[in-house]
Amino acid sequence: MTKLKLDGLQKHYGTVAAVKGIDLDVAEGELVSLLGPSGCGKTTTLRCVAGFELPTGGRITFDGNEVTMLPPERRDIGMVFQNYALFPHMTVRENLRFGLEMRKVDAASMERRVADVLGMVQLTSMETRYPRQLSGGQQQRVALARALVIEPKLLLLDEPLANLDAKLRDEMRFFIRSLQKRVGITTLYVTHDQAEAMVMSDRIVVMFDGLIHQVGGARDIYDRPATRQVASFIGLSNFVTGRVAGRDGSLWRLETSFGTISCGAGIAPGAGSPATAMVRPEAIDLSAAPVAGAFPGRVSERFFLGNLVDYRITMSDGTLLQVQQPATAAFAPGDEVHATLPAERAWLVRDDAA
């Protein structure tokens, strides 16, 4: 069932367009991330959903009811801010009670709900502390608890982990995700961190420049990126340009200057038109001996990354490919190698830059 629906959402500031028409459906209980670089419109989108910004076009509906122009206090949302925004003059308990008081919850259920949620975020003993007496991670959990205790229709998180150190950030990813699943609350999550989005989300919405480039699961986005920007924002990638030579079933043949490769595609380019294929560095296979379908090249650089070795391979036409292999593979700079670009890991992307 659709919980949240954005219909052609737009937000202009004067002549500057921050969000240029976004359509999105979020299902009940789903966690959807808005992922993109800063300035892509993800935070503006979230703030429109929260009601802190009024859209200049389009509609927002919760459960089929339009809320586009409603003030935030009438939307029934829980929000976690990047700086947590805990009320510094209130204890943890008072912070949690605030939303319940606004909803005129009776005293007994207020006590129970605060206790329940504090238990959920493992902060029962911190009730009487002030926010400044808590660590960053604890403040983060209080912020989460404060948003959840009101049992809102929708949970909104704006880069909630950006201010935590790397180790804690890792832990909190799993903590938030499992809590979200347990509570079953529909969640919209804004982040610029691709790993965070991949770990946490049911679906990821990748945005650039006020537009959605792709919506999909982590696998879709990683293996089958819709655009060159999506591919380069998420993980490492090689882009190979060429001309479409034809089609074999579901695969396309791309004629490049070092040879013809096969690749999948979500688009249907016309034969003879220029196209760009994306291949992840770990998808490329290297061998010392010639293999059928492999292209010759030479190792020009090698970097040891611990679990992986990162090679730069110069192909016969001068194209530089980045290849990552398990650390057991041992090629040295100058070695002649044969690179296989497997068809199932090569993917044609829309390339507006080309």
Partner: protein, 262 residues
């Protein structure tokens, strides 16, 4: 390092001496038993206090100054707090213009403000027959100080706190009352104190705008000094210092000046 500390100590001490010594001398002179305002005093006596408290003009002036300062501070609160909120959180295109206009009474020489107001009052028919013009004038000069205090307090709290309150179901008024106001309280209190003190010892505005037949304490001291050079004025000054100090201490006791820092 040690020499530097010593130098700093000396500098701070001399600043305090320069600031405090004249005040101390006035206080001491007020207990002089001699007939003239002079230092060192010739003996101890409370006769000038008796003279001050027994004088109808001084009592009327003290009462007027006190009521004036309280009213000016109160009215300035009602104007300066919303003005600061508007400037910091909402003002758009005319933001800086708005700020300059609000601060104008601070930037212009006070006597010019007073002259302008005087002309204005006669133009619109208020004149100076009632004390209304005097009250308005004091409010006008109190606002800039108040505005600056509240503005800086607002800059110190994140706008996301108000948004958090809104997301939790608070209307904008409730989120102001429950979240913003408690957090800017130190700024508001400081602003009110500033306003009280500024109004209490103002001369230029009162000089031109005081109503017919009424006068404020500083004006009364000034008038008195023209004819009598006895220590009654020192007693009046001491009382005025005591009242200002009293206001500061009272506020500190009631709400805490060093209100919690978060």
């Amino acid at each position: 390092m040690k020499g530097g500390k010593l130098l700093l100590g000396a500098a701070v001490t001399s600043v305090y001496v320069f600031l405090m010594l004249p005040i101390a001398i006035v206080v001491i002179a007020s207990f002089n038993s001699g007939k003239y305002l002079k230092f060192p005093p010739e003996g101890f006596s409370l006769r000038w206090y008796a003279n001050f408290f027994g004088s109808q003009p001084f009592m009327d002036a003290t009462l007027l100054s006190f009521v004036l300062a309280v009213v000016a501070a109160a009215v300035a609160t009602v104007i300066a707090v919303p003005a600061a909120l508007y400037y910091v959180r909402h003002a758009g295109r005319w933001r800086e213009t708005f700020r300059m206009l609000t601060l104008a009474p601070l930037l212009l020489p006070e006597i010019l403000t007073a002259i302008a107001l005087l002309f204005f009052y006669y133009q619109i028919g208020i004149g100076t027959k009632s004390a209304l013009g005097l009250y308005l004038g004091h409010v006008v000069i109190c606002i800039p100080f108040f505005f600056l205090q509240v503005t800086s307090a607002l800059y110190n709290i994140s706008p996301s706190l108000e948004e958090a309150a809104r997301s939790l179901g608070a209307t904008s008024w409730t989120s102001f009352r429950r979240v913003t106001l408690p957090l800017i309280k130190p700024g508001v209190i400081n602003g009110a104190l500033f306003a009280f003190i500024i109004s209490f010892d103002n001369v230029s505005i009162s000089l031109l705008l005081k109503g017919v037949g009424t006068t404020t304490l500083p004006m009364q001291v000034f008038d008195y000094l023209r004819w009598d050079f006895d220590p009654t004025t020192a007693a009046a000054s001491t009382v005025s210092i005591a009242m200002t100090l009293g206001a500061v201490i009272l506020v500190d006791r009631l709400v805490g000046l060093r209100a919690m820092r978060y």
